[in-house]
């Protein structure tokens, strides 16, 4: 059953009179409950736009997005969603526990429950030793980890992660990967966007490839490899993108 769904989701960024840039064009996506789904694409392909539309940060030009059957502005739905933005920046005068407590309050989590949860999460992302350190002294990797902890503060059913491994070293990447698998085993649905193909290949059960705001392909890696006669994800990625660019070049009459 689809827990996240988009129906002809379209976003045009208006630049002026009759001028716009396509952020997303007629995207139909279905993400099932309990799966890890990866959105792949080069920079500017529409990955973040798609996530922002799902979360109600942007508004669609047409079409709609639903999480748990509810529209993105539904407050009750957001109670069950965790989100990690790309290159997260937080209030740098707070330390880790204070930041997590701030977000816990926004979820109306009881103080005693929040305290326990904060301890667990700091342990989980291995920031227990840095409890007193304010965020301004955090490294990029530590920020990414506290961001991950913040996205889990409400014990979400659905976790939406935008480039979760950016800035992490290989060990950090491995730990995040293991954590995602563990969270999936707990029954959580994870939607992540990334341009790190190897990360996606290792954890995602199904993927979607975006390019210039268009959804080019979606399905399991095996099925897509077979469909596009690709050897691996990298090969599949390149083939789908080149095929789309060629198609567009033919349409517009531009030489490739």
């Amino acid at each position: 059953m689809a827990i996240i769904q988009t129906d002809k989701l379209t976003k045009h960024y208006v630049l002026g009179r009759k001028k716009f840039v396509v952020g997303l064009e007629n995207v139909d996506l279905e993400i099932n409950e309990g799966e890890i789904f990866g959105i792949l694409g080069p920079n500017g392909s529409g990955k973040t736009t798609c996530l922002k539309l799902l979360l109600g940060i942007l508004f669609p030009t047409s079409g709609e997005a639903r999480i748990m059957g509810r529209l993105p502005d539904d407050i009750e739905m957001k109670q069950y969603v965790g989100f990690l933005p790309e290159n997260p920046y937080y209030y740098d005068y707070l330390n880790g526990p204070e930041l997590l407590l701030f977000y816990a309050r926004l979820f109306s989590i009881r103080p005693d429950v929040a305290k326990k949860r904060i301890d667990e999460l700091l342990e989980l992302v291995e920031l227990n030793n840095a409890r007193r350190l304010t965020l301004r002294h955090y490294s990029k990797g530590m920020l990414e980890r506290i961001g991950l902890a913040a996205s889990l503060i409400n014990d979400p059913k659905i976790l939406i992660l935008d480039e979760p491994t950016t800035g992490l070293d290989p060990i950090g990447c491995r730990d995040t990967r293991n954590l995602l698998i563990k969270l999936k085993q707990q029954g959580k649905t994870i939607l992540l966007s990334s341009h790190f193909l190897s990360e996606v290949e290792r954890v995602c059960e199904r993927i979607a490839i975006f390019h210039r705001g268009h959804l080019l392909a979606t399905g399991t890696l095996d099925a897509l490899n077979k469909q596009y006669q690709a050897e691996n994800l990298e090969d599949l990625f390149v083939k789908t993108i080149y095929a789309f660019d060629n198609q567009e070049a033919v349409k517009t009459g531009e030489p490739k």
Partner: protein, 254 residues
Amino acid sequence: MKKMWTIAVNTFRESMRKKTLYIILIFALIVIGASKLFSFLTAEEELKMIKDVSFSAIEFFGALIAIFASITAISTEIERRTIYTLLTKPIRRSDFVLGKFFGVSLIIFVNFILTTLFFIGLLLFKKSIPDIEVFKTLLLIFFELILIGGITLALGTFTTDAFNIICSFFLYIVGHLTSYGKEMIERTENIVVAGLADMLYTLVPNYENFNIRDKIVVGISVSWGYVGYTILYGILYTCIVLLIALYFFQKREI
């Protein structure tokens, strides 16, 4: 309500880290303290001078703090992208805007209390017990500052910081010159100009309504009716600008 309060407290804490606000506060205290230097005047004149300078300093520097705290309240969250982590939580956009407003109001309140205590301390040092008229003046200044904060915050939901700062200061100056504007409207014979000026007079916040210090300093009493009416005007105007802020922020893409 709790979520709104969480955002308000966070806004307050974040603003308290800004050096600009401390510098303005220190300047306000220096100006109020400097009013004591007019010791060559008679005791009565000196008290008048202390009151006049202090009221003006509390109002002017309070307005500066209200404008600077409000301008950055929303734009900083957008620039630093911390807003993504807030709007994706189960909070309404209205909770966010109102939380920001209450946070800014808290900053205005703390600054107002500090400068007022310093002023009252100065009066007590001069062996003058502040009367009820002094408190009426201060009360109106406080509601004026809240209105200034509300207007600046509302402008911040749909303009850039640079435009907001120009607009807020323009309104601050024009809002204090409304009585002159009213006089000009009465004198002009051109109906179109008079109509336009009258509309402008109605729309622009009349900050001069809150200014009773000239009367109080020379010992003229102001009725509670006038104080109550002006506070009501301030609250209603603030509510209207907050509704405008909510309307624009509801539609804003980030």
